[in-house]
């Protein structure tokens, strides 16, 4: 049990969102989150929690509190500041790079946001505005995530062999591979006939 005198910052580690890239040319997709005291441990925890099965080419982790997240309804109701109005989407503005993620389907319960692209903008809000303009026409977007590139801690290509390759050699057994159900049925039948 936690001592009552313990400082609040010891009570809970930061939450990091985890993004997985399945193949070299695939977009990154959010797969869930982990808690960790720092990005390096967050990366290791992400690997342990989300890369037990193939296939992973690369992982990103980013502190959850660095991510701007807005639902479609929130975006709808937003009044954009005049000063941050995006240009026509052709030239790049000055500013930082933000990665844009969209949740594009409600069909499955476990669907998270997937990377749509990137924008350069002076702030996260301006990046969202620009993202809506640039990617909004590609279809319905239920949730927008704007992730500052500088908040992302990425797995290193040279670590891929030790982090992601061993999962290929591990058996993943479906529940049906165990004969438990068959055996239970046989036992029941045996009992019934006795």
């Amino acid at each position: 049990m936690m001592a009552p005198t313990m400082p609040a910052e010891y009570g809970q580690w930061k939450r990091y969102e985890v993004f997985q890239q399945a193949r070299e040319d695939a977009p990154f997709a959010n797969v869930g989150s982990v808690h960790a005291p720092d990005p390096e441990i967050a990366m290791q925890n992400a690997r342990d929690v989300f890369v037990r099965r193939p296939q992973t080419h690369s992982l990103w982790v980013a502190p959850a509190n660095a991510i701007l997240s807005r639902t479609a309804q929130e975006v709808e109701a937003m009044s954009w500041p005049e000063t941050a109005l995006p240009d026509d989407g052709v030239g790049e503005q000055d500013g930082d790079t933000f990665y844009v993620f969209r949740k594009t389907t409600q069909r499955r319960a476990m669907t998270f946001v997937t990377q749509a692209g990137e924008v350069v903008a002076p702030s996260a809000m301006a990046a969202l505005q620009r993202a809506v303009q640039r990617f909004g026409a590609e279809g319905p977007t239920y949730v927008w995530w704007i992730v500052p590139a500088e908040a992302i801690f990425a797995s290193r290509p040279e670590d891929a062999a030790s982090m992601f390759e061993p999962a290929h050699d591990k058996d993943y057994r479906m529940p049906t591979q165990y004969r438990t159900q068959t055996m239970m049925r046989e036992l029941e039948e045996h009992d019934g006939s006795a």
């Binding site: 808690h35 960790a36 005291p37 342990d48 061993p166």
Partner: protein
């Protein structure tokens, strides 16, 4: 490490004394991994935070997999059945070092034990992977990849706990004081190991010890820990000597199999 002149020895090429020496060494390698994996698995559901619970369960599963590699090689060598060895062998026939059978203690103790063992295993596997007995070299290469990851994880935690709070440092130092004398047993050669070293199948454990010290001492020191200097406390016993903790561990590990020896799963 360059390939030794005798590289490419296969099972048929092993003479009887070498075969026996290798069987003994494989049993030691396998038992180390098995017992450590079992201890680590005891953290499942009890680790300080969910993510570390999963990390340690992963490591336990990997070490169990490595044990499986060594038991399978042993089976090729002398026909012994891995399941019989694991589930029906009496405590006195196990050949792991005492360090891995010690109760888990606190998180610092388990983490440091895993770090000291991973550092040893990593170096050992590197040498075994370049060794002359091809089946052993191939198995070592496979296990090595996972060890890189274990070591990265345990090293990161040794640093964080050593340099963390006064309490985490105190616990790490206590763990180091307790484990350091035991770690020496990993590098104690048994009588027939010299045959394997001469045949370039396994590295000299004395030289491995030097390489290990060069790896772990700077990391421990830079993590704010004092490496014990008292050489007289180093455990010099052979691998047949065990503590009273092994019986209880095996009772749990073997209980289900012994309940129904003919069970299939």
């Amino acid at each position: 490490m360059g390939l030794p002149e005798t590289a490419g020895l296969d099972l048929a090429g092993l003479r009887a004394p070498l075969r026996e020496a290798l069987a003994q060494r494989l049993l030691a390698l396998a038992d180390d991994e098995l017992i450590l994996a079992h201890r680590n698995s005891e953290w499942c559901g009890h680790a300080p935070i969910l993510e570390e619970d999963i990390a340690f369960a992963n490591i336990a599963q990997d070490e169990l997999g490595h044990a499986g590699l060594w038991y399978a090689l042993l089976q090729q060598l002398d026909g012994s059945d891995p399941d019989r060895l694991v589930f029906f062998r009496p405590a006195e026939a196990f050949r792991h070092v005492r360090m891995v059978e010690l109760p888990n203690g606190d998180w610092a103790f388990s983490m440091l034990r895993q770090f000291l063992f991973d550092s040893y295993e990593m170096l050992h596997l590197q040498h075994l992977a370049g060794g002359a007995f091809a089946p052993l070299a191939q198995a070592a290469a496979k296990a090595h990849r996972e060890e890189i990851y274990h070591l990265r994880h345990t090293r990161a935690w040794v640093q964080r706990l050593g340099l963390g709070t006064a309490e985490s440092r105190r616990r790490m130092q206590a763990a180091l004081d307790a484990l350091w004398p035991h770690a020496r047993q990993l590098f104690r050669a048994s009588g027939s190991d010299s045959l394997l070293v001469e045949a370039h199948i396994m590295p000299s454990l004395a030289r491995l010890h030097d390489a290990w010290l060069e790896e772990v001492v700077p990391l421990l020191t830079s993590s704010g820990l004092n490496v014990p200097q008292d050489e007289s406390r180093a455990v010099q016993d052979g691998r047949e000597a065990h503590t009273e903790h092994l019986a209880a561990l095996l009772e749990e590990l073997q209980s289900v199999a012994r309940m129904d020896p003919d069970a299939v799963w």
